[in-house]
């Protein structure tokens, strides 16, 4: 049976050296900034060319509804205005916490040479 390795050492313990910009943070920030720049550049291009940026799911759902005689598609819950942004922010914040928590438990450190392997 696999053992789950100990994650990064807790603050204050021997060997821990907390820094604002360690390697992991730098890599993640770089990826985030590159993705954000790509999104902003794409959105800016679309705005300049009067493109709506509608989701393809919505486009195809509308196309499909047009095929039906009395058809009307609707989401299970309609989130008006900024409430959709709130729902996304809350869900993605906690999703990030859960992914980070499990990532640290599983991949936070490389396996020790003497650690137990599969039984």
């Amino acid at each position: 049976m696999n053992t789950i390795s100990t994650p990064v050492p807790p603050l204050g313990s021997e060997g821990s050296n907390p820094r604002f910009f360690d390697g992991f943070t730098k890599v993640m920030l770089t990826i985030m900034i590159v993705m954000e720049l790509a999104i902003f550049a794409s959105a800016s291009y679309m705005s300049h060319h009067k493109l709506t940026g509608t989701g393809t799911d919505d486009i195809v759902n509308n196309l499909a509804t047009a095929k039906k005689v009395n058809g009307e598609h609707h989401p299970f819950v309609e989130l008006p205005g900024d409430s959709e942004l709130s729902a996304f922010s809350v869900a993605n914040f906690f999703a990030g916490v859960i992914v980070g928590y499990n990532w640290l438990r599983l991949f936070g450190s490389k396996p020790q040479p003497g650690a137990k392997k599969d039984a």
Binding site: T3, V60, L63, G71, H73, V77, A87, A91, N102, P111
Partner: protein, 230 residues
Amino acid sequence: MHIEDGILSAQACAGWYAATAAFVVPGIYEIKRRIHENLSYKPFLAMVGVAVFVISAMHLPVPVTGSCSHPCGTALAAILIGPFATAVISTIVLFFQAVFFGHGGITTIGANTFSMGICGGLSGWVFWKALRGVNCPVWLAAGVAGFVGDLMTYLVAAFELAWSLHGQVPLVKQWMIFFMGYGPTQLPLAVGEALFTSAVLLAMLNRRPDLLPQVLVRKHAPQVLLKKEA
């Protein structure tokens, strides 16, 4: 591929629910079995499930088509936790997306899971296994799996719509009409998903190859471990 309520007929929704159940039920048994075999499987499953939730809700703009779409993440999930378990987590993910975000619908969870969780995951997994079976490098096999899984999701979603709504129009023609609604935006995103799948899998294998013995071809797994420990 988030088909909303009110588009598919009740019979079609029931049919897709039944087809999805044929994969989800064995998936639940697979998860129970693997949790007993491997302690790390449970946190792994949680992490992958949440990652699929975020990835498949992340709409990215594609300037050449002027629209937005999202990757799926199910090919990566199928490589990591298996295709049947991917069907289970996709069902949960799509339920929460429908309830929290209004993405997709409740009556269409079966259809949406079949396209994203089953066909997307399974096709990516098959390509991954086939390419690794002929000793293809991990980055290439994972990339192809991500690319195929992404596009297959949208091909199947378009088919689901066409099958229910083609009427007098030939099925294949209607299928391609719906797919052309997705395809041009999805193609660049599929390339992005290929890169993402490769990068994440390589990072995981670099950190803890011992946690992913099923990911590597078996004969190579011990060599990787010995190399890391040396």
